[in-house]
């Protein structure tokens, strides 16, 4: 199997998982317990927290709250930060942010949506024009999960804070964390990350936040995670997340460079049947293409039968015919129907990529021959 749907989820890092499982098997104690065993688990969790946090931020200025995943992190950030006035986001967000903004309406906060450019990156000037003195939150996705477009969130956050220093800035960093080189600047207050996109297991994520930002609890209970997110910690998932991240960050720049070099080869191997939607300068991990007039979903199932796994737009929104985000980029229905999202992993080798490209060409040929 050639697996090129790594933006949907990744194969868990076996070494990281085994190490986490071995730890949990021996040390199954509740991390909140006051005896030695509990403290031992607590300490390992704290080490994991420090590892993950220091990978992208200054631990003096930021802290990290473990959650059940990117979606929960986004929910906590948005509902705990956007309490009044208006909140601004982009038309290029993952459903985990977009749905929260739709819900804000019912909670008395006016949602505002900035348009995206053809690449899927936000039109930063349009976004800024929506920010005013009543804005309580701005949320901009870091790497667009459908096209891979990178938003310069450092620059956008700085400009937002110049216009309204009191509003909070959040970014969904799920497709960026562990994939593209980046340090959190002080203008970004809240940042969502997820474990299973970088070799961790599903059901674990984190919300990174500036220490001086007070966030009310999202889930109430035993007061874990500094009272920000109660519930006994998912020790297996968290440890696996941090062990996998350790590996990931070691080779992050090299992986990124290698995949950047692979991209033009892959694209040139793809025949003229495919139109690239991802633009130059986007994440080397994600490549959206379209075979206009076909059906991406059907192609992906044909490919699955031939041992090649690619995605169709965002997996979380596959229930709707057209990708909301790609439609916002301005593509017509013919293009939207035929979208495939190819997403690489650091282990994707050139030969696999070439074979996948061939299989994609073949699928389009078969589709067109039959229909």
């Amino acid at each position: 199997m050639i697996y090129l749907d790594n933006a949907a989820t990744t194969r868990p890092n076996a070494a990281a998982f085994n190490r986490a499982q071995a730890f949990l098997g021996e040390n199954f104690f509740n991390p909140s317990a006051s005896y030695g065993g509990g403290f031992l688990v607590h300490s390992e969790l704290e080490r994991a927290r420090a590892t993950l946090l220091s990978a992208v931020a200054d631990p003096e200025k930021f802290e990290l709250i473990f959650t059940s995943g990117g979606t929960e992190s986004d929910n906590q950030a948005i509902f705990c930060a956007a309490k009044r006035g208006n909140a601004v986001t982009t038309a290029g967000e993952h459903a985990a942010v977009e749905r929260c903004f739709n819900e804000l309406k019912n909670r008395g906060v006016e949602p505002r949506y900035a348009p995206v450019k053809k690449s899927g990156a936000v039109d930063a000037e349009a976004l800024l024009s929506l920010v005013d003195e009543k804005t309580s939150l701005v949320s901009v996705i870091h790497v667009n999960n459908e096209t891979g477009a990178i938003n310069d969130i450092a620059a956008i956050a700085r400009a937002v804070k110049r216009k309204n220093p009191r509003c909070l800035f959040h970014s969904d960093g799920v497709q960026a964390f562990g994939k593209i080189p980046f340090r959190l600047p002080q203008e970004v207050d809240l940042y969502s990350v997820s474990a299973h996109k970088i070799g961790g297991i599903k059901g674990t994520g984190a919300l990174i936040k500036r220490r001086d930002v007070a966030l009310p609890p999202h889930i109430f209970g035993g007061g874990q995670e500094g009272n920000a997110r109660s519930g006994t910690e998912n020790v297996l998932g968290i440890l696996c997340f941090s062990y996998a991240a350790q590996e990931k960050f070691k080779t992050l720049s090299a992986d990124s460079a290698r995949l950047s070099a692979l991209r033009p080869l892959f694209l040139s191997k793809l025949g003229g049947a495919f139109l690239p939607l991802s633009e130059e300068g986007s994440s080397p991990y994600i490549l959206a293409v379209s075979a206009p007039g076909t059906r991406g979903e059907v192609l992906s199932r044909m490919l699955w039968e031939n041992g090649v796994v690619v995605g169709t737009g965002s997996a979380c929104s596959s229930k709707h015919r057209y990708s909301r985000v790609l439609a916002a980029c301005g593509y017509d229905k013919n293009v939207l129907d035929g979208v495939l999202r190819v997403s690489f992993s650091p282990t994707t080798c050139e030969e696999e990529a070439m074979r996948a490209a061939e299989a994609m060409n073949e699928a389009v040929r078969r589709f067109k021959e039959k229909l």
Binding site: R295, R301, R321, K370
Partner: protein, 383 residues
Amino acid sequence: MEKVVIIRYAEIHLKGKNRGYFERVFSVNLEKSLKGLRHELRRTSGRWLVEKFEEGYAEEVAERVSKVFGVHSYSIGYLVGNSMDEMFAAAKLVAPRTGSFKVETHRAYKKYPLTSMEISAELGGRLLADNPRLRVDVRSPESTVFVDVRENGKALVFGSFEEGRGGMPVGTSGRGLLMISGGIDSPVAGYMMAKRGMCVELLHFHSYPYTNDGAKEKVVKLSKILSRYSLTARLSAVSVTHIQEEIHAKCAAELNVTLLRRFMFRIAERVAKREGIQCLITGESLGQVASQTIEGMTSSNAVVSLPVLRPLVGFDKDEIISRAKKIGTYDTSVLPFEDCCTVFLPEHPAIKPRLEFIEREEGKLDVEALVAEAIGTLEIIEL
């Protein structure tokens, strides 16, 4: 004190000399519906009792038997000795906390020392003395405590009659093959035929990879809901992918759906005849979509000899939806998985296709080979 579920049956008593047969089938169906739950099913005069289920399961037992066709009404109650003390203890449990009530006694055991009226009066009096917030109203009480004195030294005490779904025991009216899609209509059609006692078998057509596994899973889910009533054990699925591709490639686009339906009918009939099934069932409703016109139905009927039952033919969509909601299939039917890929849907399907035109277009295909090939893909999914 033992909790029991009391079941009374509907039309079976009308069936004269066949009554024994109907009752036997009904018993088997009740047993099937209770599969997986510990229980004992016992026939007493004019009713069935489900006893000896585990504590806390009365509602689930009642829910399951409520779906068996032939049930006229059912009650959750207590089976106790027929002494006044025991009947009173049970009556206290089913009596309301407050408001007006009466006790209604039915005395099958005619040698009981008290008459029905006397038993009601005695139990009513005791209940009143026990709870001052109750008052008696024999004409229009808010609640009724029913007491049924049986002949074996036992009595049944219960608080209400819940309406069953009526109909006839499934299996007493032959066998039909329902063409089930993931839509709203076909499960309702299957339900209606099962209600008249038909044993409903299920056949689904898919076109993987143009449709996805979610669409098939949805049909399995619908089949499971339907099988609670129809007691169907399995679903057959056939791929019509190649047929769709051939039609799309070779025939006039506006006939896509019409031609596909003729293939589905042919396949269904082959499967039915092989299994000794006597008719086909569809969820078609006149005029609902382009293929469900009288011309469309005529063109489908023309390729089969078995009768085609269309129990929804005269129903509005709203009526079908409200039935689907009552049956419990609606929420699953509206899940967003398509039965048919949009690539195969023509912009303007033919509404009144002429048979000569249809046959001319169909002549471009090797019908026999395609039908045989499709039947070769048949897979059986146990529900």
